[in-house]
């Protein structure tokens, strides 16, 4: 499968490296020589230097044989032009385009039906706002992903020192707590992701990923000593596009929201568009302002300025001033692994969201959604079990599931089944699979319809 990526920025770079590791044929186009150099020095892909919106450059990159075009430059206009040019040269190529500006929101459908016929428009900002909303509502979670229309949650939490499960072996959880534990899918310890067995001992500091049905989630969280505290006050720092979207959403839910923005013009705009939320003009890292606005009473502080260093510092400051939870927006992937080390647990990244939505559209078979988890060491995929694929009609233990992958749940007619070795997947079941990076190509293969190859 050949994929052309226009734009070698952070998103383009990471998708390229992700796909190259899965043995796909990737061509990256960028006009910046240094960006191209960074790609060709680090990833096994072909590079073309030139503007991605130019038909000549697209042809040189081989758009005619490409199955998918990803337009992910920083400029919405360039992305749209690239799709338009691609549509002219090679109408059959699937086009994915990142469009961030809210002004385009209502035209997404139009772009799909008329030229440039963009198959999928990706707006990472909407995704990020959704992620923040979920994080606000699930206590203690570092990561929350929803599958099967929200019926199944995939949750990541850090185990605290004081937790009862600290030092407990997985198979002893029932004996210790007296309650059934959720299916623990993965544990990240010292940056390394492991799929635990029954004899695995949990330790404080572990990042535990488990899967749970929506209704049971709160109960499971209490096993890990994470307790619900209703959130009624939120402080947002940074009134950019994401900040605005979030404030708008929260005020609709009648959550008391304050938003701090540095730029007076932007403040005026926000005040115009927002009704209940309080818009404050000032610097988010100004301690006096924060104290004056009673920061210690805030349930959660979300830092969303365009400068990630400021976000990090402000979050740390807020914690010091007594806020229990902060959510920090980070763009540089290189910073992600450092965050838990310096005490910032909840992190959102628009770029990671963009990577997630793009991956979902690239997967073969009937994959409904895909989420890459921390550090991109693994993915969780939701897929429909096709009648002709290799996985249906036999007990799970008889399916040759590749090493490093796990069928975590089966959803059949609105019931969620956490499978055991003898469970059987039936046609049209929706299944949620957890897979380490190395196992993904094989998973794609078993999910795909056998008939495809005839």
């Amino acid at each position: 499968m050949k994929i052309i990526i226009v734009g070698a920025g952070e998103v383009g770079f990471h998708i390229a490296s992700h796909l190259a590791q899965e043995n796909k044929d990737v061509v990256v186009i960028d006009k910046d020589f240094a960006a191209i150099r960074r790609v060709s020095d680090n990833i096994d892909v072909q590079v073309v230097s030139g503007s991605g919106s130019s038909p000549v450059v697209l042809k040189e990159a081989g758009i005619k044989e490409a199955e998918i075009l990803l337009a992910v430059t920083d400029s919405d206009e360039t992305n749209l032009m690239a799709c338009l040019a691609a549509n002219l040269i090679s109408p059959t190529t699937k086009k994915l385009c990142r469009i961030r500006h809210a002004d385009y929101d209502e035209y997404h459908e139009v772009f799909r039906d008329q030229a440039p016929h963009i198959d999928t428009i990706i707006n990472p900002e909407i995704e990020v706002v959704k992620t923040i909303e979920r994080l606000i509502h699930v206590p203690g979670a570092v990561e929350v992903e929803e599958f099967a229309d929200g019926r199944v949650n995939f949750v990541g939490i850090h185990l605290d020192k004081s937790a009862r499960l600290n030092g407990v072996c997985l198979s002893d959880i029932y004996a210790k707590i007296g309650k059934q534990s959720p299916l623990i899918v993965a544990v990240v310890r010292d940056e390394e992701l492991i799929i635990p067995r029954g004899n695995h001992v949990l330790r404080a500091g572990d990042l535990i990923y488990f899967i749970s049905e929506q209704e049971k989630l709160m109960g499971f969280l209490s096993i890990f000593d994470k307790h619900v505290e209703p959130i009624d006050r939120v402080l947002i720092i940074g009134g950019g596009r994401i900040g605005f979207r979030l404030a708008f959403l929260l005020e609709k839910k009648s959550i008391y929201t304050k938003i701090i923005e540095k730029n007076p013009d932007r403040c005026a705009k926000l005040a115009e568009k927002l009704n209940k939320a309080i818009v404050l003009h000032g610097d988010g890292s100004d301690q006096d302002l924060l104290r004056a606005e009673n920061i210690q009473d805030m349930g959660i502080v979300v830092t969303l300025t365009n400068d990630e260093e400021t976000n990090i510092i402000t979050s740390l400051l807020a914690k010091r001033m007594g806020v229990r939870r902060t959510i920090t927006k980070i763009s540089k992937f290189a910073y992600l692994p450092l965050m838990s080390m310096i005490g910032i647990e909840l992190v959102v990244s628009p770029r990671l969201s963009a990577v997630n939505s793009i991956l979902q559209h690239i997967r073969k078979g009937r994959v409904l959604s895909t989420k890459a988890i921390k550090g991109e060491q693994a993915e969780v995929m939701e897929a429909v079990a096709l009648e002709t694929s290799d996985i249906v009609g036999k007990p799970i233990k008889n399916i040759s599931i590749p090493k490093g992958a796990l069928v975590t749940s089966i959803i059949r007619n609105n019931t969620v089944i956490i499978p055991t070795g003898s469970s059987v997947i039936e046609p049209n079941d929706r299944i949620i699979i957890f897979a380490k990076k190395q196992a993904i190509p094989k998973i794609e293969k078993i999910l795909a319809v056998k008939l495809e190859y005839f």
Binding site: D25, F33, D41, V45, Q46
Partner: protein, 482 residues
């Protein structure tokens, strides 16, 4: 630098080399000659050593290979391959000392074609086949081959590829390095096969045709005959070999494009035009220089003139005539051809046409800006501007090349070798050509070079094949700093 990881990969390469020894062994068994025992012994030693390296360092994780590690693997790997490739020669009867066998082996892998042997025809068929096969393996690059067929190198293959096939303007034919390597090897094998066919049609035995195709395509130059191609003295064979030497001297990505149905690819490429144009001019000059002085007919002069010019400029090193009997101008032209070399991305050696082109354009730009001090002028190849970085690295390369050539010739001369031989032997080895002038001319061999001199020349061959940087970097102290 993760040494265990580097040694693990080198171990794999050595095993791979050992497995390749099966092919000459089959010939040895077929002809029932005395090469069987040395080949079996070397196969055992090579595979055994490789396996022990792999087992010792098995636990290392193969993930990303850094640029520096890539260069270390390639430079050390090539030395190791040359070393183990020497065992069949050393254990056979023909080579008295290990340094001779090592010289022959490195000369093979680097596609130089300088030989120690005085009487080639007396050597067993199995060993001669090994001698040809190692040139074929080394031509397109043994590491490129392993990137193509060994899956474990998939991820880090790119760094290795870049270190083994350095080219001023790298071109990747396919998005993935493994596919690129596979395509290159397929094209290479296909053209070699075509040559085998044409040679057998002309009446050469299949064994000789294989051996000669295996040394033409990598621009190697080992022959199975004492008199090289002159042995056949046939216009047909000369023509076929000239054509295939030229093909081998052209960038293989152009062959690929040609086979994909773009017949104008050769013409469109400015380096290819430069290469073929200079070959043509040199042939005309040499032909007229030797017509009347050495050969009486223009046809003869053209036949021998063109063969020698193509053989030297593509850095193959076959001979059909003793050019030492030619006028001084022709000899000097051939000596200078050794520096020019073939195209980048071909199997040929030398400085490579594209570098010479860039340097010439750079000189012109300097003159131009003396006349128009405020002019903004870019150096372009085929209509595309070449970045300053590339030009700088090319000039650096040429500086190093000439510097190392001068230094090594002085070393050889210091061992009591005469002037012309010292200069020519270094030029012929650093450019991976084979025969030089003086005591190492087309009718002589390298057996009489002093012991230390052979080591210097081995070093020169490796320098030339890996295009200087990859090898010389190991001698820079900064490289070893943590």
């Amino acid at each position: 630098m993760r040494w265990s990881f580097i040694l693990y990969i080198i171990g794999m390469l050595i095993i791979f080399l050992g497995i390749c020894m099966i092919f000459p062994l089959l010939f040895g068994l077929y002809f029932k000659d005395q090469s069987v025992i040395p080949l079996v012994q070397s196969l055992g030693i090579t595979v055994g050593f490789g396996l022990s390296l792999v087992i010792c360092f098995k636990k290392t994780k193969v993930e990303h290979i850094s640029h520096r590690e890539g260069m270390a693997i390639v430079a050390i790997g090539w030395t190791a391959i040359g070393f183990f490739g020497a065992f069949p020669f050393y254990l056979g009867a023909e080579f008295s000392t290990f340094v001779d066998a090592f010289f022959e082996s490195v000369s093979g892998f680097t596609t130089t074609g300088s030989s120690i042997l005085t009487n080639i025809e007396a050597v067993s068929k199995g060993l001669l086949f090994w001698r040809s096969l190692i040139q074929w393996l080394g031509g397109m690059g043994i590491i490129v081959l392993s990137v193509a067929i060994l899956p474990f190198l998939g991820v880090g293959g790119m760094q290795l590829y870049k270190a083994e096939v350095p080219s001023p303007v790298p071109d990747k034919l396919k998005p993935r390095i493994r596919d690129t390597a596979t395509v290159l090897w397929k094209v290479y094998a296909l053209i070699s096969l075509a040559q085998v066919l044409l040679l057998t049609i002309g009446g050469m035995s299949l064994y000789d045709a294989l051996c000669h195709a295996f040394t033409t395509m990598p621009t190697g130059g080992f022959s199975t005959k004492n008199a090289s191609i002159a042995h056949y003295d046939s216009v047909y064979f000369d023509t076929v070999i000239i054509i295939f030497m030229l093909l081998a001297g052209i960038n293989f990505s152009l062959h690929y494009q040609f086979l994909r149905g773009k017949p104008l690819a050769f013409w469109r490429d400015s380096e290819c035009r430069f290469f073929l144009g200079s070959v043509l001019i040199l042939i005309v000059v040499v032909t007229f220089d030797i017509y009347g002085t050495v050969y009486n007919t223009l046809g003869r002069a053209f036949q021998y003139g063109s063969f020698q010019v193509v053989s030297i400029v593509t850095t193959t090193g076959y001979a059909t005539a003793d050019y030492e009997l030619w006028p001084a101008m022709s000899q000097l032209i051939l000596l200078l051809c050794m520096f020019l070399g073939a195209s980048a991305g071909s199997t040929g050696g030398g400085m490579k046409c594209i570098r010479v082109m860039l340097a010439l354009k750079y000189c012109y730009k300097e003159l131009f800006s003396l006349i128009h001090p405020r002019a903004v002028k870019h150096i372009k190849i085929g209509g595309v501007s070449v970045s300053e970085d590339v030009v700088r690295s090319v000039l650096g390369f040429m500086g190093l090349y000439v510097g190392l050539f001068a230094f090594s010739s002085v070393l050889i001369a210091s061992m009591g070798v005469d002037l012309i031989t010292s200069v020519a032997s270094v030029a012929a080895t650093i450019g991976n050509i084979g025969p030089g002038l003086g005591m190492v001319g087309p009718t002589d061999n390298f057996a009489h070079i002093p012991y230390l001199g052979k080591w210097v020349l081995i070093w020169c061959m490796l320098l030339g094949r890996l295009e200087i940087y990859t090898v010389i970097i190991l001698f820079v102290p900064e490289f070893w700093r943590k």
